[in-house]
Symmetry: C2
Subunit: 513 residues, 2 copies
């Protein structure tokens, strides 16, 4: 058995059965091993940031890591931005990166690069296999690292001779460390704050604090104590809709966030961190919560937040609390597109258990209030601010979601970074409906610019405007094998969403906003 | 004056007047400064690897660095692959990367990343400005580093407060170190080898060894001594066509390269390195030249190769030598597309001084013999093996080339990594004619696979085949604002090339191969 075969066998044995791939020459023995050994679903992406973004989306829905297959340092580099987002989402990924043969590296051939150096900034675990006999062992360790709570990026670098040499040995799966429970003292501290203090905010962050069960417990606490509740601004996976409490997020814009948090005196952190600005601005504070507010940690991101919330509710003797009814399901909006109308239309039409992938950037800041009365669904967001995650995330979520419908609300500028993902959606016939929010500019930057430099002149607009030439989203989707149509009104959008939701494969709507 | 304004003034004063940009929030003060201060041409790319690839192409043609404008660590990460290629091409680039404000960084906001860590693997020079008053000084140092022979990637990281704070000071341009001349002893050594030894190969590498003047001197040496001559496999810029000697490259495939070099006993390195494999293969040597061959350095990559060749020709007392006539200009080919037919057709139709950007990968290995009798032109190649450089390189070469026609011979799989570059070509109305070599597979990998694992099965083909669904290149180009058509025969290609070469802006031909 060669090293590559031991890698595939070990991954499968460790429960990794999906591989997002963009291979190159130095990975051919890995590809050959995948071909010979049945059991691994291989999904091709045409650019590496698509590959890593798919692996992120897969983890968020499947709750287990996929492997990636990337080509040498520059191939890994192409996928770093979405690995950055995955790191911020705390997603588990087993990155497999081919590299020059150990003995060939000193010759500094053209593709030779500092592969470990590129990996380090996004990975919790990095290792370069030294010989074929160690590849299996290293792969098992990589899967263990990826599965370690709350989920980590593990990068295994495989010089090509470690793949083609004989002597590979399949490794047994390594035990996944049990998820740490919150400190009982932390539970008692949080309970005391909630009992004794006023203006307390329960701040949920991370996927385990936003499951239906965790939110149910959080709602018991809110009902019993009257505390405030929010989720962090960006969240990997957020259970929402009918049957879940109507939890809002900390707003993104600095002024709005500061105003929203102005009265908070105590924050109980549940898998979250104290709210800070996405960016600094002159004469605005980095922290968005009041200077004197205290922070009390109930659970750290790597701890079991749902269990901690249950323990806290018990400690408080909180009764079971009915989740408030969000009111009737909205009707689809009419007339010209607006963010509120889009939220209502989506809430009106989305199938139950839809996975919403939200890279709507500036347009989507108000999507939450309008979608509380939608059927139960999951909401996946860009977590690390590296735009270009939406299309790949939606693609991976469809593969990890076991047939659930995916609705990708997608800003146009951001979509252009990883537009190649549409091709994978077509190839794999995935149930992804994409709504491109086509405003033909970097709208968020226009807003930021106006904060800085009054109205943009010609040179600034050359860098903020996407309208010259207009990008033809219908033609683009068709060129990549995805059926598509344009909507200029909410009525058209509703018709096209119905069509998209009924289609077995991908569909794209360019919504002119 | 704020830091951002001092940056723009200093760049302009140092001769940097073109900025390839994909800005974000933390760069808004830089954008505002560019808007207020005239003189900088700003060119938007819709993804960062387009931006860095354009800067590489610009340097190769303009011979001076452009600036880039990139957003935080993940934005830089998106552009690393083409910076890797630029590093291998020895291109000078002044990367300007925005970052979190110095005092905001400890809060580890979502976009915070190891920006310096990402930069280091591709940059000869990395600095993070500490305050506004130092930005001008740092920018001047970055330009100096970028211009230092043979050309270097310099990355200047600008925390946003260093841009918006007052106290900026414009810095005077720093002197560019003079290009080092080759050691006279090296010239004498090389002359002795050429006089006394048999089976000597003159190996040219790097742009300065492949100028028309350098090749003229090299040809004097060949004519006087009867030595063999080759260029390295990958070259940043290679003057070719009528009036230049018919220099071939070291072949890419290991077996072919080893056979070509089998009789070589002495190699004189002119800006080049001893030929090694792009990748290692089981049971094949890493070095492609014979084990006993000696290497003699005439000039290192950072030294003046053209001058060294002239000195060597003088030392040898070589007479001026007429450049051999390459024969009549070929006629355009007919019938089904073949690599040889494409080379002939390109040679028949390209305007004088065309800039050929070659990311044809496997299809283009034989393009050189068929194009020696083309009009004088420059040939730009992928240098670092990180595919996805062709479209951006062509775009930047058109901007740096002062109106020269650019012909991009482009593999389809590679084109998909940075397809967004077409939009910039349309926006800037650049004279770029792209020929997509549409074989709908990763052909080079199919070849590599067959070397490894016999015929690919279903799983392997899922990772090597691009034909499901077919990418519609005409629709893709149109969606990005570029006129396009498909050719299935050489006659059609010839008609479309004529049309493309006559167009003032970009044109794309999908050639079905």
């Amino acid at each position: 058995m060669n090293g590559a075969e031991s890698l595939v066998h070990t991954l499968l044995k460790s429960g990794v059965d999906t591989c997002f791939a963009n291979p190159g020459t130095s990975e051919m023995h890995f590809v050959a091993a995948l071909d010979r050994i049945p059991g691994m679903r291989c999904v091709l992406g045409l650019q590496e940031n698509v590959v890593t973004g798919m692996a992120d989306g897969y983890w968020r829905m499947a709750g287990k890591p996929a492997a990636t297959l990337l080509h040498c340092g520059p191939g890994l580099a192409n996928g770093l931005a979405n690995l950055h987002n995955a790191r911020r989402a705390r997603s588990g990924i087993v990155n497999c990166v081919g590299d020059q043969a150990t003995y060939h590296r000193p010759f500094d051939a053209p593709l030779t690069a500092d592969t470990e150096g590129f990996a380090r900034g996004v990975s919790a675990w990095v290792r370069t296999s030294a010989k074929a006999s160690e590849v299996g062992r290293d792969a098992a360790a990589a899967v263990q690292a990826a599965r370690t709570a709350p989920g980590q990026v593990a990068t295994l670098i495989l010089p090509s001779d470690t793949c083609w040499d004989e002597g590979g040995a399949v490794a047994e799966p390594l035990p996944v460390p049990e998820v740490q429970q919150a400190d009982p003292l932390a539970v008692r501290n949080a309970a005391r704050v909630l009992r004794e203090k006023r203006n307390v905010l329960l701040l949920l962050g991370g996927s385990d604090a936003l499951t239906p069960g965790a939110q149910e417990q959080a709602w018991r606490i809110v009902a019993a104590t009257g505390c405030d509740i929010l989720a962090e601004t960006s969240n990997g996976r957020f259970a929402r809709g009918r049957g879940r409490p109507q939890v809002e997020r900390v707003p993104y814009p600095a002024d709005v966030a500061i105003a929203r948090l102005a009265k908070v005196e105590h924050i109980i952190l549940v898998g979250s961190r104290g709210p800070v600005g996405f960016f600094a601005y002159p004469d605005k504070p980095s922290r968005h919560y009041p200077e004197g507010a205290t922070l009390t940690v109930l659970s750290r991101p790597e701890q079991a937040s749902e269990a901690a919330l249950r323990a806290l509710a018990e400690e408080l003797g909180a009764a079971a609390a009915a989740i408030p009814d969000p009111g009737p399901r909205p009707e689809a909006a009419r007339g010209a597109p607006t963010p509120e109308g889009l939220a209502r239309t989506v809430a009106a039409l989305m199938p139950e258990h839809t996975v919403v992938v939200d890279e709507s950037v500036s347009y989507g800041r108000g999507f939450f209030p309008g979608t509380h009365a939608a059927p139960a669904h999951d909401w996946l967001m860009i977590t690390g601010g590296a735009i270009g995650c939406g299309l790949p995330l939606a693609t991976g979520a469809a593969i990890g979601g076991g047939g659930r419908r995916v609705l990708n609300l997608q800003a146009d500028g951001s979509a252009m970074y990883t537009v190649q993902a549409l091709w994978t959606q077509a190839r794999e016939k995935l149930p992804v409906t994409t709504v491109i929010l086509s405003n033909r500019k970097y709208q968020i930057l226009l807003g930021e610019y106006q904060n800085v430099g009054a109205n943009p002149g010609r040179t600034a607009m050359d860098m903020l405007d996407l309208g010259n030439p207009d990008i033809g989203w219908v033609g683009m989707a068709n060129a990549l094998g995805v059926e598509a149509a344009q909507a200029t009104s909410m009525e058209q959008l509703a018709d096209l969403l119905r069509q998209g939701f009924a289609a077995p494969g991908p569909f794209l709507v360019e919504l002119m906003v």
